[in-house]
């Protein structure tokens, strides 16, 4: 490896203790959180731990959104994913899994290497695609993507999306109530 001289150390120290340097460190932490959370969510045997991993992963994703200049989406990520989705999933676990036996992988022995191989292939392919592709330079912005701009867009250009979200949520509410009531054995 590259021999580390005193000058290097001083360079790194100076680079670290600037706003940009600290931001870089935080970004690395967020990446680590995402990776650790995702791995934890997928591999841990107990479902409730998976949910904790998922929550961790989403907190990391929220941090990444913050780096992408959209704190609003970052906070919504925490509010909706951690505060609502994860809790809903853990509710499902509590209600539907009284036994605490380990919920390991599928019984089929061949599936594990196959799915792992497919996942690695997918990751490799996407990464290569991302690295090789020629992305266009940042074009001129028509607005700066702040909360106000999002709000204006939502109610003008993308009002259809806005309506669709509410429709989907309404259908989801009604559907889940119907489903949950239909399966009830006792009345």
């Amino acid at each position: 490896m590259i021999p580390l001289t005193l000058a290097d150390v001083i360079y790194w120290f100076n680079a670290l203790f600037t706003a940009e340097g600290l931001a870089g460190v935080v970004f690395l932490c967020m990446m680590a959180t995402v990776v650790a959370g995702a791995v934890f969510a997928v591999t841990s045997a107990r479902l409730i731990r998976s949910v904790t991993g998922l929550a961790l992963c989403f907190i990391g994703v929220a941090g990444i959104y913050y780096f992408l200049n959209s704190p609003f989406v970052a906070l919504m990520e925490i509010l909706i994913y951690v505060g609502a989705v994860c809790i809903t999933i853990s509710f499902a676990i509590m209600l539907a899994e009284p036994r605490q036996e380990d919920q390991g992988g599928r019984k089929n022995a061949m599936l594990w290497p196959m799915s792992a191989g497919a996942a690695v292939l997918l990751f490799w392919g996407l990464t290569m695609l991302a690295g090789k592709a020629q992305w266009p330079a940042i074009p001129t912005r028509i607005n700066n993507g702040s909360l106000e701009d999002v709000g204006i867009s939502l109610l003008t250009t993308y009002s259809m999306v806005f309506e669709l979200i509410s429709l989907v949520l309404l259908v989801a509410i009604i559907g889940s109530i119907v489903l949950a009531r239909a399966g009830r054995s006792k009345t």
Partner: protein, 333 residues
């Protein structure tokens, strides 16, 4: 190093906020015990220090020196993660709270949203702590805490929405700035915005009590039903951290009520505004939380949900409609 540079200021504010949260948690326990004592016509803590003022330190030392037991059969990872999940978001929320116009950790534009986002993580902490304890009482408590939080998030957010509509901002400092002047400029007395504003403050306060699992809504740690609920298996500092998180949440809830309705750091008479007014209002509100705890019996679970769905949510929506109608009328004429 420049103190005004962003990373340094962030670190300083973080340390200050952690200290504030810890100190508050410690002394709110003292206030609670002393208040309970005098309401019940006894003295309360009095041995350690004058008026028992050093009692929190002694308690803290005791909790620190106790062994952190991880009982056999619990899920060790979740069991240890849960207290952190309760405390850290609470402390993060402190960063955005404006103690005065300048005394604020980070004056970000989405402060209100940030507090709600982090407050929602708190529930996950209780849920995981309860489930990870593998104790039947703790599991029941965790389920209760979550359904309670979900039920009361709705009216709380709707009430806050009407305030946001009035203020046109999610920035807490800006919301306070708009309430400058005499106390009838505070949002709670703005009857010209909506006739239900004082009522909606009460609704917000009740929701805040429920969200922080305080009596009379302490279903999650109902000691006569569930021992200590989700915290049953915790000992030593694990319990202490949970406790700190609980009290930090109370402080945040009360601070939010002060900022949204009671004019934050604004002086009621329009002069000499500053952090002292904020603290006075904050602690008055916290005292009323303590006062309420030692007055009422605990609600029953159905009563709790009925209160939310039948009373608070209708009031919140009526308030929202009134406010928006008023704003629309202002635009028309």
């Amino acid at each position: 190093m420049n103190l005004q540079s962003e990373p340094v200021w962030l670190l300083v504010s973080l340390v200050a906020v952690i200290a504030f949260a810890a100190l508050n948690a410690a002394y709110l326990v003292w206030v609670e015990r002393k208040g309970a004592g005098h309401i019940q016509r006894r003295i309360g803590p009095k041995e350690v220090g004058p008026f028992g003022l050093l009692q929190p330190l002694a308690d803290g030392a005791k909790l620190m020196s106790k062994q952190l037991l991880v009982p056999k059969g619990v899920d060790p990872v979740l069991f240890k993660v849960a207290p952190i999940l309760v405390l850290v978001p609470a402390i993060m929320s402190f960063v955005t709270i404006p103690f005065s116009e300048t005394l604020v950790g980070r004056d970000i534009n989405l402060g209100l949203l940030m507090i709600f986002a982090f407050a929602s993580v708190n529930v996950l902490g209780i849920l995981i702590g309860g489930w990870g304890s593998r104790n039947k009482y703790a599991v029941i408590s965790a389920v209760r805490a979550v359904s309670q939080n979900i039920a009361y998030e709705v009216p709380m957010l709707v009430i806050v929405l009407s305030i946001v509509m009035v203020s046109h901002t999610l920035n807490l400092n800006e919301i306070v700035r708009q309430q400058a002047g005499f106390f009838w400029h505070w949002n709670i007395f703005r009857l010209d915005l909506s006739l239900l504003m004082p009522v909606s403050f009460l609704v917000f306060f009740v929701c805040m009590l429920a969200e922080t699992n305080r009596a009379p809504f302490d279903m999650a740690e109902a000691e006569s039903e569930l021992i200590a609920g989700a915290f049953t298996e915790y000992s030593g500092m694990g319990f202490g951290v949970f406790f700190m998180g609980e009290y930090a949440n109370i402080v945040i809830g009360c601070a939010l009520a002060v900022i949204l309705f009671l004019g934050g750091w604004q002086c009621p008479f329009g002069v000499a505004s500053g952090w002292w007014w904020f603290l006075i209002k904050l602690y008055a509100l916290i005292w009323s939380v303590v006062w309420i705890r030692w007055t009422y019996p605990r609600t029953q679970f159905y009563g709790l949900l009925n209160l939310s769905w039948k009373i608070l949510i209708p009031i919140a929506f009526v308030n929202l409609i009134l406010t928006s109608a008023q704003m629309k009328l202002d635009n028309l004429f």
